[in-house]
Amino acid sequence: MSLAKPLPAARRRQRGRAAPYLFVLPALLLFAAFKLYPIGWSFLLSLHRTVAGTDTFVGLDNYARLLDDPLLWTALRNTLVVLAVQVPLMLALATGLAVALDSSLLKGRSVFRLGFFLPMVTGLVAYGIVFSVLLNKDYGLVNWLLGRAGADPVPWLTDGMWARISLGLALTWHYTGYNAVILLARLQTVPRELYDAAAVDGAGALAAFRHVTLPGLRPALLLTTVLSTIGTLQLFDEPTVLTGGGPDNATLTLGMYLYRHAFTYFDFGYASAVAYALTLLIGLLGLLQFRLLGDKP
């Protein structure tokens, strides 16, 4: 009887193959409901304009509006300035820090590592508020100290340029340690023999850094660059708490601009269009960075 026969091997394998999909199904369903669906829905939203509660299909109008919106360009420019100035400085600082924290000359390394990483676990809003209190022109600690030293008060948050610098300082304080830890982890996988070989070849500390450390760090540098880029393009919390995007939109970011349209102006269609433009930008910049920094074939 065929019924008594054991299952053919192929069918047994097939049933075995279905099992993993069953296991991931709950996660997939949740992903579809809470990620995929909103992503799709917001694309549809970006093609609509809501007038008096009724959605009207407007095609690419919202995207056309983007091109003609001076504040959007201000926000983009502000975001790109942070990207071009703060991110490289921070990553250079993080690299230096990683090398220093890796050095066997340093005593109590774990204490320092913890110290530099700690800002990362501070609540975003909490540190934003702390910085805004520290940097207040008339009442802040920093200007009080400067005053004691005989310097004039600095308009940290009330002048466009200084507000950008303050934002950069806050971001650097927060994320440098985090990036340093990633770089440090990679640094520890660089074989010691390479340094020994470099030393035998007569390389000094600088040459060793250039020819051994940096190439070794390359994948981690790529990772931190891409992560920082994405993070910067989505920048929201710090400027919101620190400056509210001001003064006169000097620290307005794309993320804030998006949020403002959705939740302050109730213009969800336009906010979605900004979100898609932002996604496109992040995708393009990410691709570019992989091209430039990634392993060449």
């Binding site: 409901a33 809470f34 669906y37 909103p38 829905w41 917001s42 809501t50 008096a52 509660g53 001076p70 609540g123 975003l124 809003v125 909490a126 508020i129 805004s132 209190v133 207040n136 022109k137 008339d138 009442y139 948050l157 009330t158 002048d159 507000a163 919390d237 919101t240 708490v241 400056t243 509210g244 001001g246 003064p247 006169d248 939109n249 949020y259 403002r260 959705a262 939740f263 302050t264 102006y265 109730f266 969800f268």
Partner: protein, 462 residues
């Protein structure tokens, strides 16, 4: 946005909880999108005022408010339940400004997850009504119209712009005030009570600065918080003007607007304006330091001063603000808050029962005033003696009567429109340019008006 909405009414709740704003932003976004999903799948959403309102004496209702007002509503519940035992009320303190994001997300999700009763500021109400028709229940069929004449003038037009549909019931009505340090004015030899116009006040401010070192007022110059334009708005309203006219046209560059901004520039150029960037925290520390001689804030701020600087009892006075033009009005209702019922609520009738109990009975309103100094819009409440008692803190002045006089004075209606938030943003940016870069008031306001018209498709009134 306007001060009453942005500030906690009690000071134990500290600055408007920004952490909440951010947390709610993310949470609300997820909730909103989840809600959209449900709406799309089942085809049910808020159906507006139609349908069954439920039993007016039975149901389980939730109320959303913030800080002080939430606490006061909570305190009303035991009494309410004596009269209406069938209704279970849960009052939730959502926090301000978090509540706006949460209501927005709920309304955008077709009413999913909203409370039955919503506490809404005048700056958000028109936007909610216009952008989400049916999101708030029409209270007229439930009986709201019979209270039409019970509130301070102008407020019925705010909650019922077309005269038939009633979107909410007024709760607070805050008039612009002029709180000042009598001791500083005395030291400077200026009679603060005699100041009739803001021009005179600026001259007095110069003497004050020279003799005491105190600034006249403080403004959040870089507009780090959305309510940085409160003072500008007060000066506009004292002239019967606003960002929009009653037809919804943009009036940001009106002569009144330019006059208001010019006054601010004159004060600033004379070194009379201290910087309050950082918002609430900075305002309170300036209060404690005595940096500014005048705090041009509305009714509810008196309670905050008493709580924050109790040691200065007797040094403070309050009056209505000077006029912008000699002989002009000194009274302006600068903001109001309201209770609305969610259109998608299954217990609209029960929710209305609670709203009516809280807002139209003088006893409820008097109790709330005693608790948190929240100025009622309900005129009958002012018959109570609590509004006519001399205040030891304000040197024996009858503070309640001063603001009552303002509520009774003619107050032109203010058209916030659904685009108030955009207008406010452009105004605060323009003000920052004037205060920080010395820009020309007429020029920045003309640009702001043009930009507002461009963004909203509204016409300018010029």
């Amino acid at each position: 946005m306007t001060d009453s909405d942005r500030q906690p009414h009690d000071t134990d709740s500290r600055p408007p909880a920004r952490r909440d704003l951010l947390r709610m932003g993310g949470g609300a976004l997820a909730a909103g999108l989840g809600g959209l999903a449900l709406t799309a799948c089942t085809g049910t959403g808020a159906d507006g005022g139609g349908g069954d309102d439920g039993d007016p004496e039975k149901g389980r209702i939730t109320v959303w408010s913030w800080q002080g007002p939430a606490a006061e509503l909570k305190a009303l519940v035991p009494d309410f339940n004596k009269a209406h035992p069938g209704i279970q009320v849960t009052v939730e303190d959502i926090g301000n400004p978090a509540i706006w994001e949460k209501i927005t997300a709920g309304l955008a999700a077709g009413g999913q997850g909203l409370a039955d009763v919503l506490h809404i500021g005048v700056d958000y109400l028109p936007g909610y009504v216009e952008r989400f028709p049916g999101g708030l229940a029409d209270l007229a069929p439930l009986g709201a119209t019979r209270h039409k004449d019970a509130f301070a003038q102008g407020l019925w037009g705010t909650v019922s712009p077309d005269g038939t549909r009633v979107n909410a019931l007024p709760w607070e009505a805050n008039s612009g005030g002029f709180y000042y340090r009598a001791d500083l004015f005395e030291k400077a030899g200026v009679d603060a009570d005699a100041l009739q116009t803001w021009d005179e006040t600026i001259e007095a401010g110069k003497t004050l600065k020279a003799k005491t070192g105190a600034h006249l007022i403080g403004i959040d110059k870089p507009a780090s918080q959305p309510d940085a334009a409160n003072f500008f708005q007060l000066l506009l309203q004292l002239q019967g003007a606003f960002y929009f006219d009653l037809d919804g046209r943009v009036t940001l560059d009106s002569p009144e607007s330019v006059k208001a901004m010019t006054l601010i520039k004159t004060m600033n150029d004379a070194g009379l304006v201290s910087d309050l960037s950082g918002g609430w925290n900075t305002l309170i520390s300036s209060l404690k330091k005595g940096t500014n001689a005048v705090v041009p804030y509305p009714t509810w701020f008196g309670g905050v001063i008493e709580e924050q600087v109790p040691a200065e009892a007797g040094r403070w006075r309050v009056r209505l603000p000077p006029a912008v033009r000699r002989g002009g009005p000194t009274a302006a209702t600068v903001n109001s808050t309201h209770l609305a019922v969610a259109g998608g609520s299954r217990h609209r009738a029960a929710a209305w029962t609670f709203v009516e109990y809280a807002l139209t009975r003088p006893a409820s309103q008097v109790r709330i005033y005693r608790g948190k100094g929240i100025a009622p819009a309900l005129m009958k409440a002012y018959d109570d003696s609590v509004f006519h008692e001399p205040s030891a803190f304000f040197g024996g002045q009858k503070k309640g009567e001063i603001f009552l006089a303002a509520l009774k004075a003619p107050s032109p209606p203010v058209n916030y429109t659904a685009d108030y938030a955009r207008a406010l943003r452009l105004v605060t940016d323009a003000q920052s340019k004037v205060l920080l870069k010395g820009a020309d008031p007429a020029a920045v306001l003309r640009d702001a008006a043009a930009e507002l018209a461009r963004q909203t498709g509204r016409k300018t009134a010029r």
